[in-house]
Amino acid sequence: MDVYLPIANLSVDGLVIVALGALTGILSGLFGVGGGFLTTPLLIFYGIPPTVAAASASTQVTGASVSGVIAHSKRRGVDYRMGAVMIGGGVIGSGFGALLFNFFRSIGQIDVVINALYVVLLGSIGLLMAKEAIQTLRGTGGAQAARRRHHPLVASLPFRWRFYGSGLYISPLAPLIVGIVVGILTMLMGVGGGFILVPAMLYILGMSANVVVGTSLFNILFVTIATTIMHSVTTRAVDIVLVALLLLGSVSGAQIGSQFAVKAKPEALRLVLAAIVLLVAFRMFLGLFYRPDEIYTVYPL
């Protein structure tokens, strides 16, 4: 089924895009991540211009996270106070991200920077997740039962607030900084940032596990909304037809994924996610260290 994308300026096979959306949707339903880290590179690989891919993927993540947020908020799995602070940081961060994007574009290294970010972040997080999942599967992770609270640096920050949902009494500066960092990455990489938020919430802020996924999705929802608006006003690269196709797949995929998530073993799931994350990182790594297919890049003047 041929569909013409008016902003990307080319014709694609609609079914392939819907299938791609479904794949990321299943991931987001299973793991509570937006799936942007997979959509953006795959769209680029398929031939969609990089800016259009990043902008449209962030809009798609909005849709994929809505149903998750509703589901989690029903069972009180969202810490709204924490989420609001992070969203504030996320909006500031996406502003910084836009500045950085323009800076790296002006020196002509934006594609290299994005590639490197993917390799470093996905690579390290994928390895961490794989290690942890394997340990738990082998039953050697029991020693970690005495779970560490938040990172010592977090405790040293001033002005403490009570975050009832997360069971924390910490400075709001900590989630604000986390939000800023994720906002920057959202703008640069075209990702929701769930794969960074979730570990950061668990291991840096020390939030209780039952609100982590819900709050992460809540944050992703609003940050991707802000990013979509930012892209629509500045790069004008959101392709609404592409978004609709991706959503068609991802919203149904997300529902299927969340059904699976109830039945499957969480450690096994995490191992699968780790494998996917590492695969994407490895593909990006090849692009960075081996002679790429495309030596030349065109920038309009």
């Binding site: 008016p6 909005t62 290299v112 490197a116 629509s232 030596i295 920038y299």
Partner: protein, 245 residues
């Protein structure tokens, strides 16, 4: 005026080209997967001679744009952008078709003057890098565009019948830029261009596609809000739908 023209035509005793294109307007709408254009026409010889051999070359060019081309180089193991070169007029689309291989029709110099081939596109490089580097960059650009299907050569793609009628099919892929395209037709004999004619093709978005593009460019904020609404609406709707199943 007519007299002058008639005198001029008779005086030079060179043939006249009457070109036509299957369509002067290509509409880019939903389901657009590219368009094949048929460039055809006749070569009229005022002297009434028939059977003289002509070669026909057609060149179809899309609107030009200035670009900066960056080249990746290995830098401490990492492939990073290193040097760059600016080109002031890069056609967004370029196709050439001819009745025989170009090298058999004209010499290099003539081919370069009339841009008979992707190697001869006048890209107007600017900046002060040396000619050899410029050639390398130009070759890289042409190769990139060729693999996108935007630059193409079809030597032998022009059919001539009875030394009078000619026709060539040129494919516009779906990723073409909108704008005014110019189709130039050349009649060549003994290495010399003896007649040429120009016609135009308008490639434009129409209907919903046009509306989407205009909205995105003119009402960015509203466009973004609608995209968000669509996204949230579909996410929420799917949640409700699956909850009932």
């Amino acid at each position: 005026m007519l007299l002058v023209a008639a005198f001029f035509l008779m005086g030079q005793r060179d043939p006249v080209l009457v070109p036509e294109i299957s369509q002067h307007e290509v509409q880019v709408r939903q389901g657009f997967v590219g368009q094949e254009l048929l460039l055809f026409g006749a070569v009229l010889d005022p002297a009434g001679r028939a059977g003289q051999d002509y070669d026909i070359v057609v060149v179809l060019k899309g609107p030009s744009e200035p670009i900066r081309l960056r080249e990746k180089e290995r830098f401490i193991g990492v492939w990073a952008n290193a040097e760059s070169s600016d080109f002031r007029s890069v056609p967004s689309y370029f196709a050439v078709a001819s009745s025989r291989p170009i090298t058999e029709i004209v010499d290099d110099k003539t081919a370069a003057i009339y841009e008979f081939g992707t190697d001869y596109i006048q890209l107007s490089p600017s900046g002060s890098i040396n000619p050899e580097e410029q050639r390398r960059f130009a070759a890289g650009l042409v190769d990139l565009k060729r693999r996108l299907g935007l630059y193409r050569e079809d030597f032998g793609g022009v059919q001539i019948s009875e030394s009078v009628l000619y026709q060539a099919r040129i494919e516009l892929p779906s990723n073409v830029t909108t704008g005014t395209y110019t189709a130039e037709t050349f009649a060549v004999t003994r290495g010399r261009v003896i007649a040429s004619a120009v016609s135009e093709v308008e490639v434009k978005k129409v209907g919903f596609e046009r509306f989407v593009e205009d909205s995105a460019n003119e009402w960015g904020l509203a466009y973004g809000l609608i995209a968000v609404l669509l996204s949230v609406g579909m996410g929420w709707g799917a949640g409700r739908l699956f909850a009932r199943l």
